[in-house]
């Protein structure tokens, strides 16, 4: 970008739309809802992101990827902040993101009512199999291949699948 051109906030958002999550690469960081704010002042860009889980090991890589994407567009004055509150929730995932997850073979998160409660053996959520669409599925484990997923299996088509659990 030329020295005199002003950086617009829209431009930054459109660049961020191309930054993917390193662990679920089918989703962009916008789909995930982890970009909380973008500020531009005198061509200084400040981006606020929030982690999905406290221990999410992808946060450092995401910060680096944001920086790389902006640098490629000639934007050099970048600061990336992390904010914990309000805490990230799967409600912030875009509809488009949920569709992409399903097409990728990961069951997308349900709506808010299904957030985890501490009571033991509470009734399980009915999660739709991303392969055959059956609701006749069972929880294998509340913890899966990454912090944000649970393990399920479809009782009809037998497909084992990941569920992006409510949070």
């Amino acid at each position: 970008m030329t020295g005199t051109e002003k950086i617009s906030i829209e431009k930054i958002w459109s660049i961020l739309k191309n930054v993917c999550d390193p662990e679920v690469p089918v989703l962009t960081i916008i789909d995930l809802g982890i970009v909380r704010n973008v500020r531009v002042e005198d061509n200084k860009v400040e981006i606020t992101i929030t982690p999905t889980y406290s221990g999410c090991p992808a946060m450092d890589v995401i910060s680096m990827n944001i920086r790389m994407a902006l640098l490629q567009e000639g934007i050099t004055d970048i600061s990336i902040k992390q904010n914990l509150s309000p805490a990230w929730t799967t409600d912030w995932m875009t509809e488009e993101g949920k569709q992409k997850l399903k097409a990728y073979g990961i069951a997308p998160p349900q709506y808010k009512q299904a957030v985890c409660e501490p009571e033991a053996f509470a009734k399980e959520e009915a999660i739709q199999c991303p392969l055959c669409n059956s609701y006749n599925t069972r929880l294998v484990s509340q913890f899966g291949s990454t912090a944000c997923k649970a393990l399920y299996q479809c009782n009809d088509c037998k497909e084992p699948f990941d569920y992006f659990k409510c949070h």
């Binding site: 501490p118 033991a120 913890f143 899966g144």
Partner: protein, 245 residues
């Protein structure tokens, strides 16, 4: 005032870190793959919480202090974690019981801390509470499954209670730096209720109130187990202080 906040933040961080470090010993050794993955996930949540807390403590302390210097370059006497979290994993019954007792404590603790006057502590608590909810559910189910399971699993749970219970009293005994920052009595009541409800469903007896309790961890007086944890966790950065990833 500020010193209390620093000490308290480090106490919370030490609890999370040592809990996470201990649980990560199960990685690759779980009884079945799904439960191995569950414990690794829980351990990762703890390490994440510890990082958020150490980063805050380091900012409060200023100077050269970093999250890494707090985790890797303090000795056992500087650690302020509860004795409960440094106990060995033992068998599966001891591991799930310890996880249950601790996550029930953390659940009500973080609930209260979301209302903290300190915004940063409140934010970390809000974030962590969502994770701890999963830990509490998972561990409650295992306590019930084993307690109300076979003769063998029940006797293992009873043995685990015998061995671990005396380390729970310390959770609610306020240290100097906690007094102005947290009301441990109200947490204790909710914790007792939760333990009683789950033990009841698990057909396990809650030990009598009068039991003697071991304390000291919050003041830096630890069991012999902590030194070994730190030795393993700190050996690399202490041997090669300039090493980077």
């Amino acid at each position: 005032m500020k010193e209390n906040l620093i000490n308290y933040t480090i106490h919370l961080a030490d609890n999370a870190l040592i809990m996470g470090q201990r649980l990560s010993e199960w990685c690759g050794h779980g009884p079945i793959l799904e439960q191995d993955i569950a414990l690794s996930n829980i351990a990762l949540d703890y390490v994440g919480q510890a990082r958020n807390l150490y980063q805050y403590a380091a900012e409060l302390m200023g100077g050269d202090v970093t999250e890494d210097s707090l985790a890797y370059f303090r000795n056992d006497r500087d650690y302020k974690n509860n004795l409960l979290v440094e106990l060995p994993n033992g068998d599966w019954a001891q591991t799930v019981l310890k996880e249950f007792l601790f996550s029930a404590y953390q659940f009500y603790l973080y609930q209260q801390l979301t209302q903290s006057k300190d915004e940063r502590i409140a934010a970390i608590a809000e974030k962590s509470l969502k994770e701890v909810t999963y830990h509490l559910k998972w561990s409650s189910e295992w306590v019930i499954r084993l307690g109300d399971g076979t003769e063998e699993s029940k006797s293992r749970m009873e043995k685990a209670i015998d061995e671990i219970w005396m380390f729970t009293g310390e959770l609610f005994e306020a240290s100097e730096y906690e007094k102005e920052l947290i009301d441990l009595n109200s947490i204790k009541d909710k914790w007792n209720e939760k333990i009683a409800a789950v033990f009841n469903e698990a057909t396990l007896n809650v030990p009598e109130n009068k039991t003697w309790h071991q304390t000291g961890g919050k003041k830096g007086v630890h069991t012999e187990h902590l030194g070994y944890i730190l030795a393993e966790m700190q050996v690399l950065p202490r041997t090669y202080p300039d090493a980077t990833w």
